[in-house]
Amino acid sequence: MSDLHTELKKSIIEQLNLEDMEVSDIENDEHLFGDGLGLDSIDALELIVLLEKDYGIKLTDPNQGKEIFNSVNTIADFIEKNRAK
């Protein structure tokens, strides 16, 4: 697992108040929304803030988030391609 994946999991747990979870509880390809981790649309907005704050990536269309936030893998891929910091 890359450092980015671990870093992302840590930030997700912290930013989304997933109090009882640890990095090892989230699989890289696990669905973050719906049946997987059970995140919702408010979390999606929090993840948009996280991308901008930590990686300098600004999502203009919230609908873009649906694919990007599928799993930790998809977020990491997106960050690798687009990061500004």
Binding site: D40, S41, I42, L45, I48, V49, P62
Partner: protein
Amino acid sequence: MKGVAVTGMGIISAIGRNLNENHLSLKNAKNGITNPEILSTQHSHLPVGEIKLSNAELATILNLPENHSYTRSALLAVHSVKELLENSGYDQFPEGTGFISGTSIGGIDKTEQHFYDYSENPEYRKYIQAQHPGFTTEKIAEYFGLNGFVTTISTACSSSANAIMMGAQMIQSGKLKRVIVGGSDCLTKFTLNGFNSLKILSEEKSLPFDDDRAGLNLGEAAGYLLLEAEEYTSGRSVLGRVSGYGNANDAFHQTASSENGEGAFKAISKALNKAGLSGSDINFINAHGTGTRNNDLSESVALQRIFGKNIPAFSSTKGFTGHTLGAAGAVEAIFSLLSIQYGEIYPNLNFKTSMKETGLDPVTSIQNKEINTILSNSFGFGGNCTSLIFKKDE
């Protein structure tokens, strides 16, 4: 049902400082959306419906002493209740007049201005309690000497619609003979940044019910109605009647409306039922229509579920005033009563393209026709949905 008599009203909004100015702007399709000039914010590019009077100017108009502790919402409210009092025919509100005010954020403008001042500067501490909506309501009550039943409803964007509903019920149940109902909300950094963080503010003028709509514009306003029991209305002018009302909860999401508009559907159904009317009796709908992707679609679906293929003429007036949050229900109640009074339907500004999903077109230019019955919708965070029905006095 005859409905509860409205015997006075008053308003201040971005399109006018009184009923007459608001009426003229509505009639001439003149919107009040500009960049913020009075509200000091980093987001000066976001259009808002701002009342171009500073707090100091408002305080002067209202003759308040220099050391007053009125919040901006209280100043706006007192301004509009003064107009209400003038056209109600009373010199002062009779003993026992109740007061129900709706607001989403009350006096939080003072909290954001003085958050860092309180510990060092005792002169600002008079605003510490202003954060809580009841404080603003009490200031208004104090100004007019209202010392009996005084309360505040805070259900986000349906607050003042709920105040009108509760007032009507208080009159019908005989608990009150006379009650001032409505609401007030001012522009604040708190709400502007909050709605911005939800990514539902439009960087252009809002386009309610348009396929290309990209969010709402915030606004500020105060609007109040005087409701009176039947025995006090003889020989006085009755401006219209509150004949139906209903509140329901969408129970779907903290901020978003459900796809099938369940809460809205239930609220409208309850209001029709209360008024003893069917959908075909409604001449016009003043829609909530904020201009967000989510609300306008959900509301349209609810309208289709209620009215089927025969949806009455409808428009959202948020293109004129911006979304005035807790005050919106009262502002639109007053616009509805103006429609009834003057036989006019006010247009839904900025509309060009129908939504793909529904194909519904709102009214886009002023229409003159007799209006007897209007449905007015107000929906808020927390799934809070309220519908009111106003009727012409017969």
